[in-house]
């Protein structure tokens, strides 16, 4: 296991992404944040805090579970329980900041896009991820990236968060 980002590095990246979001959207007035379960949710909460600190505006936040929108049922054996989607605000005409930990094949994001659009027609959906590990299978790209790396198929990256894993850290692990 190799550490790619430590706690401080991760924190700085999140702050940088928050500022990039504010810059690109010329403020935060029309933003809403949606985190993809599981870890995307915790990361989205941090981004929300950083954006609100800077812009002094409250940003609506929600979470989605993409289980029902997956194109591959094989994924469910890894995480069978549907955690639930909670979007209690209107996405109509909003700039949605979609947050996930890792961008890989792009299938998760595709499912998330379909699910969000079932709630309404946003003005835009912008994707923020901590790690972009390449090897896309769908034409999806992230708007905000903390770290871009290239990994072999036998390797995988884990974004660990305090709330679930006990600490903030990004590590690379080699599968046996």
């Amino acid at each position: 296991m190799i550490e790619l980002m430590d706690k401080t590095h991760l924190e700085r990246s999140l702050k940088r992404i928050a500022l990039e979001i504010i810059e690109r959207n010329k403020g935060a007035k029309n933003l809403v944040i949606i985190g993809i379960r599981n870890r995307g949710v915790y990361l989205s909460e941090r981004l929300k805090a950083h954006i609100e600190d800077t812009e002094k505006v409250e940003i609506p936040i929600g979470s989605i579970d993409i289980t029902l929108y997956r194109d591959d049922f094989k994924e469910i054996t890894a995480s069978p329980y549907i955690g639930g989607t909670e979007i209690i605000f209107d996405v109509e005409d909003k700039d949605v900041i979609l947050v996930d930990d890792v961008l890989y094949t792009g299938r998760t994001v595709r499912a998330a896009l379909d699910e969000i659009i079932d709630f309404g027609r946003p003005k835009s959906i912008q994707l923020a991820v901590i790690v972009d590990r390449g090897n896309r299978e769908y034409p999806i790209c992230a708007d905000y990236i903390a770290k871009q790396i290239s990994l072999k198929e036998s390797e995988y990256v884990e974004v660990r968060v305090k709330e679930v894993d006990g600490e903030d850290q990004v590590v690379k692990v080699i599968k046996e």
Binding site: D65, T67, L68, Y69, R70, D72, F73, K74, I76, T77, P80, Y81, I82, G83, G84, T85, E86, D114, D118, F119, G120
Partner: protein
């Protein structure tokens, strides 16, 4: 992890299996609150609703659930009088096989009919009620409704009141409630209790007051009006007087209580108007939950999911 091929009944189900269904039902219940009440997991799957017994609400509930998980739906309706057991059923099955249908939802007047089809055909079978045997999705939605309100069912006092001899809803509920650890009491006149009921593992009484005192939940079964003319009970009025649930009897329940009925109700017979329309009556909630529970069942039994689990 839930890995059954069919849903034929709740007999033999573990508490964990039932809870997994109910957990999924919760997520689908949330989908029903959205503007677009549809999710895609069963897209491309074809489901046939074979209702050999008349039914409006269960059939509609299943059809809605199927459409809401994006499945394609076909309905077969058959009048019971023209159907004989055995041969005709087999012809129906063979026709279905030829049409490449993935899942069958079946209601039939003969106990064991869905089991017969599950053995004979390649498709997945969901029992929507077979004879007086089981009605698993009804029991599941009842358990879901109870869990939504009370959380854990362990030790919860539940009274099932009504025609236990003919009720498949009672049977499925008994299996489910036992698996989840509830304290179940069954109350019915002696003529409406089946032989061997003492082996069901629930408390049996003919005394409604005994059954309902301190109960958290009372689930009231419809009394079929034909029972009066077949000699099971002296008159509807007498049944209503001795076993009917009225406001006075409800006051004997635990402070924290809920009133259930699978519908359709005979207002004034097994349940009074006041009780049916009271705040503690969750009868309409049961109906809404029914669609969510059926969506969960369809999702968990989906051939796509099954395929993924088998690899």
């Amino acid at each position: 992890m839930y890995s059954r091929k069919h849903l034929l009944g709740l007999e033999g189900y573990s508490g964990d299996e039932i809870l997994e269904i109910l957990d999924h039902a919760k997520a689908f219940r949330d989908v029903l609150e959205r503007d677009i009440k549809k999710v895609p997991p069963l897209r491309g799957i074809t489901i046939a609703n074979l209702f050999f017994e008349p039914s409006t609400r269960t059939r509609m509930s299943f059809e809605l659930a199927e459409k809401r998980v994006s499945a394609d739906v076909v309905n077969f309706s058959a009048s019971t009088s023209s159907l004989k057991k055995g041969e005709s059923l087999r012809d129906t099955v063979e026709n279905i096989l030829a049409m490449k249908i993935d899942m069958i939802v079946m209601r039939h007047g003969a106990t064991g009919a869905p089991h017969y089809i599950a053995r004979r055909c390649d498709s997945i079978v969901i029992n929507a009620g077979d004879g007086s045997h089981e009605h698993p999705t009804q029991a599941l939605l009842d358990l879901f409704t109870i869990r939504e309100r009370f959380g854990d069912l362990k030790g919860l006092r539940v009274a099932l009141v009504g025609d236990a001899l003919h009720s498949r809803v009672i049977r499925s509920n008994v299996f489910g409630l036992k698996a989840l650890g509830a304290e179940t009491t069954l109350c019915a006149p002696a003529t409406l209790l089946p032989k061997g009921v003492e082996n069901w593992g629930v408390k049996i009484t003919h005394d409604i007051e005994e059954a309902i005192t301190d109960a958290n939940v009372v689930n009231i079964m419809r009394l079929q009006l034909e029972r009066q003319s077949s000699g099971y009970i002296p008159s509807l009025r007498e049944y209503s007087r001795i076993w009917g649930i009225d406001t006075e009897r409800v006051t004997l329940m635990d402070k924290d209580h809920m009133i259930m009925h699978p519908g359709p109700m005979n207002r004034g017979v097994e349940i009074t108007q006041d009780v049916a329309d009271s705040d503690e009556s969750v009868i309409l909630e049961q109906v809404t939950n029914g669609v969510a529970v059926r969506m969960a069942v369809l999702y968990l039994l989906s051939p796509l999911r099954r395929e993924a689990l088998e690899t």
